[in-house]
């Protein structure tokens, strides 16, 4: 009997926990229990009885379909995604990820250049070209000049994603499209893993220049910091860009944080 209860729990795991689904589950359990005990009484073995009850359970989708309408009440059913919408959504997510990644990178590179310029000036490398003060001011100017397009990128990527906000209200995928997305998702996995590995390696290695530089010459540690920031910037770009592609797959396939329940909870 535990097998049957477990089976039913599994079947209902992806359903929203409402009063209606709870009652339905209780009813189903009772009904399956009735059948199970009767089969046992007829002389079936434990395994046979459980097997028959489970094989006669049917398809949970049938119930979901019926409940979907009952739960939503008079609301229209969820829109079904067309292939062109799906691919344009994925392209938009990719573009938005690229822009945000680039923006964040610019925000990190800005201070790095500021440090570089002021350090170069401090040690007299820029003598005759610009004064130390000018180098400082120039660094700040460069920083601002980089941050400005970064902010632009953030805002623009926001408007690109905005167009697909309606998808967050829920959607359904036709079977063929789901298969295709799953295929693409699988094909993307090695790329994603590689980008993740590279990003993590870059982060781990990023302090190395600081350490080595400080061993060679304590004064020049600032150069190490510049390289550290550059490496981190690159890593962050990898995380954001590839992460947003991965995210679009997870969103469409309703995996991990995008499962039906998580949707409901939002």
């Amino acid at each position: 009997m535990d097998t049957i209860t477990g089976y039913l729990n599994n079947m209902f795991a992806s359903l929203p926990r409402t009063e209606q689904t709870y009652k339905l589950k209780q009813d189903l359990l009772l009904s399956m229990e009735d059948k199970y005990y009767e089969l046992k009484q007829d002389g079936k073995s434990e395994n046979e009885a459980v097997g028959i009850v489970i094989s006669e359970f049917g398809n949970i989708d049938e119930l979901i379909e019926e409940l979907g309408i009952a739960v939503e009440g008079t609301d229209s059913p969820l829109p079904q995604l067309a292939p062109e919408d799906t691919w344009s959504y994925m392209a938009a997510k990719k573009r938005a990820g690229f822009m945000v990644g680039l923006g964040v990178m610019l925000c990190i590179v800005g201070p790095a250049l500021l440090i570089l310029l002021s350090t170069l000036a401090e040690y007299g490398f820029l003598q005759g070209v610009i004064s130390e003060d000018t180098a400082g001011i120039l660094g700040v100017v460069i920083l601002l000049v980089l941050v400005a397009p970064a902010v632009g990128l953030f805002i623009y990527s926001g408007t690109v994603s905005e167009k697909y906000k309606y998808l967050q209200k829920g959607f359904t995928l036709p079977h063929f499209l789901r298969t295709e997305i799953e295929q693409r998702s699988r094909a993307f996995t090695p790329t994603y893993t590689l980008s993740l590995t590279m990003g993590v390696c870059l982060c781990v290695l990023s302090p190395v220049p600081v350490i080595t530089w400080s061993m060679i010459n304590d004064d020049a540690t600032a150069y190490g910091v510049v390289i550290l920031l550059a490496l981190v910037a690159l890593a962050v770009f990898l995380f954001i860009y590839y992460g947003s592609i991965k995210d679009s797959f997870k969103f469409l396939l309703k995996e991990e944080e995008y499962t039906y329940n998580a949707f409901r909870a939002q």
Binding site: K23, L24, Q26, D27, L28, L30, S31, M32, D34, K35, E38, E56, F57, G58, N59, I60, E62, L63, E65, E66, L67, I69, A70
Partner: protein
């Protein structure tokens, strides 16, 4: 054994028929359907309960609880006047369907 695809449009009719003689509950209905069909049709649990949901939503049946002697709480169903009218309609529909399909059935 009949496939569930063939009988899909008549699951509701089968259930309503079982309720014509009075209230009943899930397992009893499915057991009787199986018995009456000479074991040729076994209605799946999900088919049965999605039909209950649909029929109740349409006002063709209503449900109530009955507590059993050993503490179990069972949902019973009974047919409504609206359900009875729907049942008659489906019977008429079946007659026509049968007539039409029969015209295309030939012993070979």
């Amino acid at each position: 054994m009949i496939s569930s695809d063939v009988i899909r449009g008549y699951n509701d009719t089968l259930i309503l028929y079982m309720l014509l003689d009075g209230e009943s509950y899930g397992y009893e209905i499915s057991k009787n359907i199986r018995k009456l069909s000479d074991e040729k049709y076994i209605m799946k649990e999900t088919t049965l309960y999605s039909a209950f949901t649909r029929l109740e939503k349409n006002g063709y049946i209503d449900s109530f609880f009955l507590d059993e002697t050993f503490g179990k709480r069972r949902t019973y169903y009974r047919i409504t006047p609206l359900g009875l009218a729907y049942y008659r309609e489906k019977c008429e529909e079946w007659k026509v369907t049968q007539e039409v399909v029969n015209k295309f059935i030939k012993e070979l």
